[in-house]
């Protein structure tokens, strides 16, 4: 059992507030990802949970007990640092066993525990090496091994993959997800990479400028972003935004006039809207389709062929719109294209940048990784035989 609660946590460095009152519940065995642009306070928040930084105000509760005044080692957490922070003068075994050495664990027992963790991470042949004789991926695994050996109730990962090359990052991502299943521990993970957040998280916490913008499952954030910031941050390539004029508000949604003059009804609740309020429409590149009869048009400025898909950057008035299109389309740069949008996938943002609520929930929006597991688990015993 390991839960974490943050209650109105703030952090101030001198006169600057970097964390402006954060409330958060992390459930047992959950994989929670803090994501946000650099400088949003996500690392500071994690360091406060770890105990490396003190909170200016608020409570940090682990399993219901207040931990603000408890030292980092006594909170029962383990942290994997961005720089790995291995001890350069110790072997892999020395690195992984250091916490036990400090605790006075006998050598034999230490070795057994290190071997156990090394087996999980396939580090056995490297135990006698020094960190400088290891590759980046191996160092990363040693850093994770050092955390596993401590048998923590909560794992903290501070951008652990950002120093790895792209291929290794994908591999480590899979390995971390596997590790989460295997260790069955609560994990908190900080990253600025929304792909890491989307692929690994049970719950994503989007931070911006010291406040939580939204907390939810990856699919909830993707399909129902609460505001313009989350909409723009989650999803790759980025969501397109353009201003639209309000025409009418009905039971089936808000009808707006698209650039180019054609009307479009977006199925969102608009009762609270002022009749002259400026609106912004957000639509993801994958929800725009090339369509000869589409309501929108523009000129292709850049064409990125990815094989299976093409990214089209289309000049529409002042704006550059991104469209993900089928890879087999033979368009060229400077061609003018017509395109349409999937109205049920579009988002409307009011003047404050808040999203208008969708009239229907996306069927996958409440799906979490734990649900994925639950669906496969009944089959597992049979599969193992």
């Amino acid at each position: 059992m390991a839960t974490l609660q943050l209650k109105n946590i703030t952090k101030q460095f001198g006169d600057t507030k970097v964390i402006k009152g954060i409330d958060l519940d992390v459930n047992d065995r959950e994989f929670v990802v803090f994501v946000g642009p650099s400088g949003c306070g996500k690392s500071t928040l994690m360091r406060m949970i770890a105990g490396l930084e003190s909170a200016s105000d608020g409570d940090i509760l682990i399993d219901g007990k207040r931990m603000n005044e408890v030292g980092p080692a006594d909170r029962g957490l383990a942290m994997v640092f961005q720089s790995y922070a291995l001890y350069p003068h110790m072997t892999v075994e020395g690195n992984m066993g250091f916490s036990m050495r400090l605790a006075g664990v006998p050598k034999e027992e230490r070795r057994a525990k290190v071997l156990e963790a090394a087996k999980i991470l396939q580090l056995e042949p490297l135990l006698d090496r020094k960190p400088k004789a290891l590759s980046g991926g191996q160092r990363q695994r040693v850093a994770i091994g050092r955390a596993i050996v401590r048998n923590p109730i909560i794992f903290l990962f501070d951008e652990p993959l950002s120093n790895l090359d792209a291929a290794l990052r994908v591999q480590m991502r899979i390995e971390l997800a596997r590790l989460h299943e295997e260790l069955d521990a609560t994990m908190i993970y900080v990253t600025h990479d929304q792909i890491e957040a989307m692929t690994m998280a049970d719950k994503i916490v989007v931070l911006h400028d010291g406040v939580v913008e939204q907390v939810g499952s990856p699919m909830a954030l993707y399909h129902h972003p609460r505001n313009r910031f989350v909409a723009g941050f989650i999803g790759s390539p980025k969501m397109n935004f353009f201003s639209v004029e309000q025409q009418s508000i009905g039971d089936d949604g808000v009808t707006v006039r698209l650039p180019g003059g054609r009307p479009c009804t977006i199925p969102v609740a608009g009762e609270q809207l002022a009749s002259d309020e400026a609106l912004e429409l957000g639509i993801r590149p994958e929800h725009l389709q090339l369509d000869e009869n589409g309501p929108l048009s523009g000129q292709i400025k850049v064409l990125e062929r990815l094989g299976g898909q093409n990214s089209l950057y289309v000049q529409m008035g002042e704006l550059l719109i991104t469209i993900m299109a089928d890879g087999d389309v033979a368009y060229r740069v400077n061609d003018t294209v017509q395109f349409g949008l999937a109205a049920e996938r579009a988002h409307l943002f009011d003047a404050q940048g808040l999203a208008l609520e969708s009239l229907s929930q996306h069927p996958l929006a409440s799906l979490t990784r734990q649900d994925n597991r639950a669906a496969t688990e009944p089959a597992a015993p049979g599969a193992q035989v």
Partner: protein, 283 residues
């Protein structure tokens, strides 16, 4: 015309010429700096009359001066004092400086920079300015002509430099590693002994060596605060320049014997020194 025709080959040849000139310049400067030491060593092997005669490189060497110097006063006693005082003060300085540098590097406050500058500023005051008060204090507490007294003075003398150097080495140490240690359950003392000291050892070694050398070569305080019992080698050298007049050959022989140990130490540890002084320059 001619210059134009010659310019191309001259250009291609310019690199070796440049290097030759630079090499010559480097050697000349090194020789000029080294010459007094060389002359001192040579003079030590001359007779007293040859030493004050016209300067000559070619002469018949003799150990006469060394024998006389050794007969007149015990080199070993002075050398022992030098060793005790140089190493004792270095040990004490490191003992005090390591915790101070740790605090300044890892737990800085608004006043840390100011404190560091203030410490260095004490080195700007001419020592003679505090000679009288220190002499009186030493006399009253009975530290005159004792190794302990000299160790205290040398420790205080070197402390600013030792703290400064350790501070820069500690600052270069990645903070993450210490934090990882803290997450692993290390107390501050364990952090220092298991992580900080092993990782900054080259820096600490070169700092210690510098402190030993500075203490070894120090003359002002040793001449003023010691007479016979605790006098180190610098006082030993000086004893050959007074009152019966200057005896160049004996003075040189004594000086050679005084600087030889530290020169040998420096030569043996130069690799360590260079590594320490450039530690952290390249990650």
């Amino acid at each position: 015309m001619t210059t134009h025709r010659n310019s191309a080959p001259a250009h291609t040849r310019s690199l070796p010429i440049r290097q030759l000139v630079l090499t010559l310049l480097g050697w000349s400067i090194a020789l000029i700096i080294f010459f007094p030491i060389l002359w001192m060593v040579l003079t030590g092997f001359k007779t007293e009359s040859a030493a004050i005669a016209d300067p000559r490189f070619i002469f018949s060497p003799t150990l006469e001066s060394y024998q006389e110097v050794q007969a007149r006063s015990g080199y070993a006693r002075f050398a022992l004092n030098s060793i005790a005082v140089a190493f004792g003060s270095t040990f004490l300085a490191l003992l005090i400086a390591i915790p101070s540098a740790y605090a300044m590097a890892f737990l800085p406050t608004k006043r840390t920079k100011g404190t560091l500058l203030w410490m260095l500023s004490t080195k700007m005051l001419p020592p003679v300015g505090v000679l009288v008060p220190i002499y009186l204090i030493f006399r009253d507490v009975g530290l005159l002509d004792t190794r302990t007294g000299l160790i205290i003075i040398y420790t205080l003398m070197n402390l600013p430099i030792v703290v400064w150097m350790l501070y820069t080495f500690f600052k270069d140490m990645p903070k993450d590693i210490l934090e990882a240690g803290r997450m692993d359950g290390a107390s501050t003392l364990q952090e220092v002994f298991f992580l900080l000291l092993p990782l900054t050892l080259p820096g600490i070694a070169s700092t210690g060596l510098l402190s030993v050398i500075l203490s070894w070569n120090e003359a002002f305080w040793s001449l003023n605060l010691t007479s016979s019992k605790a006098a180190p080698l610098t006082a030993y050298i000086a004893s050959f320049s007074s009152p019966e007049g200057l005896f160049w050959a004996k003075l040189s022989a004594a000086s050679t014997m005084a600087i030889a140990p530290i020169l040998i130490l420096g030569w043996m540890t130069q690799k360590q020194m260079v590594r320490g002084l450039t530690f952290g320059a390249v990650k």
